[in-house]
């Protein structure tokens, strides 16, 4: 791939950022300086750390030619499991691991349905999306699961705006998101596994012919997506400090939008984690920018829709040439 090809994914979101900042500056110059103020940037990053993590797993899935609609419900379920574990006296570490394990379990279940039962990923994960959501509500008995503050332990510090020690600058959850993204990007671009994932998304029959273990690879991809959703759910709990089974509704569509804005093709074989990460941040700054300008939520949602369509259209134009 040419050097330009490597940057391909982030060109779309960068244009988006430029348009966003130009629009904010044009509407209200003081809002722009508020938008890019360090404190505000930190807030956006903390709020969108979960999205950034889920986006990494989703990029792998989409590059492999699949989709994972269950990540929102699974994240909510993970937050409920973490909260329940804490409220039953588990240590923060055990509770966090329980939340993450929940994600991995659902990821493996998705992998099983897709590879063994040969159900289309859209349908398979639509099903597990419902299962995870229902399971979360059932476990939480249709309420939010409250956890006394003193039991939160280090989970409480995960999403703080003023991290200790101070040289961290950003909340630990944000660093976790960056770490996950770097690992994900290396795995996708520079490992045999990553090439196999790309090959499956590009042409599954070719991959099979070349001896790629297609089923096993896909299974791992869905498990990794579940892992990311589990981490996102645990961080969601840390931010809300309650386990909420009705949280993160529509989250999966935000994740898909971010990945697609980042230059991925839903047909598989194409996509970059850097691009997807930029896509996630663009969605975050868009919402924050609108808030600063006093644009209503209804208008924000329409704007997000327009951005998704525009990004994909620009990408399609460029690749056609």
């Amino acid at each position: 791939m040419s050097p330009l090809g490597r940057l391909r994914g982030i060109v779309g979101p960068l244009i988006g950022f430029a348009l966003l900042f130009a629009f904010v500056a044009w509407s209200d110059p003081s809002a722009l300086s508020a938008l890019v103020a360090p404190g505000n940037v930190r807030t956006v990053l903390v709020q969108y750390a979960g999205l950034m993590i889920a986006v990494v797993g989703m990029t792998l899935v989409i590059v492999s030619g699949g989709i994972d609609l269950s990540v929102g419900s699974v994240a909510a379920l993970s937050s409920v499991v973490t909260a329940l574990a804490l409220s039953r006296g588990a240590s923060p570490t055990v509770a966090a691991l329980a939340g993450i394990a929940t994600g991995v379990t659902f990821g493996c279940l998705n992998g099983l349905i897709v590879t063994r039962w040969r159900i289309a990923p859209f349908i398979a994960t639509l099903g597990t999306m419902g299962i995870a959501r229902g399971l979360g509500k059932w476990l939480a008995q249709d309420q939010t699961v409250r956890v006394p503050d003193e039991q939160l332990g280090w989970l409480d510090a995960l999403t703080t705006a003023n991290p200790q020690p101070a040289w961290l600058v950003l909340a630990p959850s944000v660093w976790i998101a960056f770490l996950v993204a770097i690992v994900g990007a290396v795995v996708l671009r520079h490992t045999v596994f990553g090439v196999h994932v790309t090959a499956i998304g590009s042409s599954e029959t070719t991959a099979r012919l070349c001896g790629v273990r297609v089923e096993r690879t896909k299974w791992i991809v869905y498990a990794l997506s579940g892992l990311c959703a589990g981490i996102a759910g645990t961080i969601l709990f840390a931010r809300l400090t309650v386990g909420d089974p009705t949280a993160a509704i529509g989250f999966e569509l935000q994740v898909v939008a971010a990945v697609v804005i980042g230059g991925a093709s839903l047909a598989g074989g194409e996509g970059s984690i850097g691009g997807a990460l930029c896509g996630a941040l663009l969605l975050g700054f868009l919402v924050q920018g609108c808030n600063l300008l006093g644009i209503k939520n209804s208008a924000q949602e329409m704007l997000t829709g327009v951005i998704v369509v525009l990004a994909v259209t620009i990408d399609a134009w460029r690749s056609r040439r």
Binding site: T191, A199, T206, L209
Partner: protein, 490 residues
């Protein structure tokens, strides 16, 4: 009367000259063969004719009037119809709906039916296209051109994916088209087909027309020399069979529906040919051996390893590799770079702790590009940018890069030009002499006879007995392929 005249057509793309001055004249009521190796400029010329690209220079006239289409729709309206290898029919619509598609106002049901009947297609016009055979689909495409009153009709390798019986129906339809006074341009790599239907030919080489004339007055050798720009020498290399021990043994192998019963013993250093009609189960046999399709009965043994529940990756691990007949969809991942395609089955050898990068892959694939004479700007370019012959070499290079001992090759020379074919024959012969064992499925009897040590014919899922190649003739192969019983030639 001249239906189409193209004079001095030139076209360059950035630094590459695609067409350096082409003249082509086709009369009404004539089947004109357009010949040339891959990359000679045939597709560019036809895209210009269709209106998909505009030439840099040159004069084109259609039935005496100047023709300069803005786009393919203008070309179509002026009476030019293109029929590509990949058909453009909607499988879930009926025959008549396909013919009238997007022209419902100008083509009536009666027109569509008349066009089909003129070509001798007797199926109900309400049959869904998905229920037609591949040859019949070609005929529907041709009927569409007639119904739209096209005056110049281009058929680009119409027989590349259909069997001889189906092909003869397509040729029949082409002759009827000629008798209706249409100008037909026929692109094919098969000189026997060209001889069977075309009257005149034009040969392109390196973007220029280098010869035109009457087929009947020109020998095959002369045509090949025009296409290759040099006498080709021996098409098939001289080989002596020095077969070693058995490396692959198949006993009464049966798959889900095909193959039904196949046994063979493949020896080191041997090229084993499998002939048969399309649909006889030859592809399925290779797929079953390789573990892409399920084994229902019988055994496959590779050396000492018995692969009863084989998977492709296990076969590759034991030194068995397969070349797909479907280069476009299965053989190569078209949207991936050349290097990735070439090394996809041997990635782990170029990785350290599972880590690889593009540069390593590019470097590792360069010797293979050089060895097989694959012409590519860079190993990191997309494989889809290569010509058919070069793509096939990449697919074969993948087997070599993996260093397989047993090569299962399904139609290794399909859709590639004469020059590349000769190169692939030489390559396979030299691989066999190095001790590789090769199973080669082909629909071209002459190439099996020219290259293989032993040949067996498949008929309705059953693989017949293998015999030395010189015990077969083209006639006896066709006989066994269509009737299932080997005619005694001794």
């Amino acid at each position: 009367m001249t239906a189409l005249s193209m004079r001095g057509v030139r076209k360059r793309f950035a630094a590459t000259v695609a067409l350096a001055g082409v003249d082509l004249e086709v009369a009404a009521g004539e089947i004109h063969a357009l010949l040339g190796e891959n990359g000679a400029g045939k597709s560019t010329l036809m895209k210009i004719l269709a209106g998909a690209i505009t030439p840099d220079a040159g004069v084109i006239s259609l039935n005496g009037t100047t023709y300069a289409p803005r786009d393919p729709i203008a070309g179509r309206d002026a009476g030019v119809a293109m029929i590509y290898q990949e058909l453009t029919l909607a499988p879930h619509l009926s025959v008549v709906e396909n013919i009238r598609l997007a022209r419902e106002k100008t083509i009536t049901r009666a027109d569509a039916t008349a066009a089909l009947r003129a070509l001798g297609l007797t199926n109900s016009v309400n049959t869904l296209v998905k229920n037609l055979g591949p040859g019949e689909r070609q005929i529907v495409e041709i009927a569409r051109a007639i119904a739209a009153d096209a005056r110049v009709i281009v058929l680009d390798e119409p027989t590349s994916s259909i069997g001889p019986m189906e092909a003869s129906r397509v040729f029949d339809a082409m002759r009827r088209l000629r008798d209706l006074g249409r100008a037909v341009i026929f692109i094919s790599h098969h000189l026997d087909e060209v001889r069977a239907v075309a009257e005149r030919f034009t040969v392109l080489r390196d973007g220029a027309s280098v010869g035109t004339g009457r087929i009947a007055e020109t020998s095959d050798d002369a045509l090949i020399a025009l296409m290759a720009g040099r006498p080709l020498g021996q098409l098939f290399p001289v080989r002596t069979w020095a077969a070693g021990g058995v490396v692959l043994k198949i006993d009464a192998l049966a798959g889900d529906s095909l193959p039904r019963d196949a046994s063979l013993e493949l020896r080191r250093g041997e090229i084993f040919g499998i002939a048969g009609l399309i649909g006889a189960g030859r592809t399925e046999l290779l797929r079953t051996i390789f573990g892409l399709d399920a084994v229902r009965a019988g055994h496959v043994r590779v050396g000492a390893w018995s692969s009863s529940t084989a998977q492709p990756y296990l076969n590759l691990r034991h030194g068995v590799g397969m070349l797909s007949e479907d280069r476009k969809n299965e053989g190569l991942a078209q949207r991936l770079p050349i290097a990735t395609n070439l090394l996809l089955s041997s990635l782990n050898r170029h990785a350290r702790h599972g880590v690889v990068d593009d540069r390593t892959l590019a470097r590792a694939s360069e010797p293979w590009l050089a060895r097989l004479g694959i012409k590519a700007a860079s190993p990191l370019r997309l494989v889809s940018e290569l010509s058919g012959g070069n793509q096939q070499k990449v697919a074969i290079a993948r087997l070599l890069a993996h260093d397989v001992d047993v090569m299962l090759l399904d139609e290794p020379t399909r859709g590639i030009d004469v020059g590349s074919k000769a190169e692939i024959y030489r390559l396979l012969a030299s691989l066999a002499s190095q001790g590789k064992a090769i199973v080669m499925v082909s629909s071209v009897a002459t190439e099996l006879l020219g290259l293989c040590d032993r040949i067996a014919v498949m008929h309705r899922g059953v693989l017949g007995a293998a015999r030395a190649a010189d015990a077969w003739t083209e006639e006896s192969i066709v006989h066994a392929a269509s009737l299932g019983t080997a005619k005694d030639v001794a």
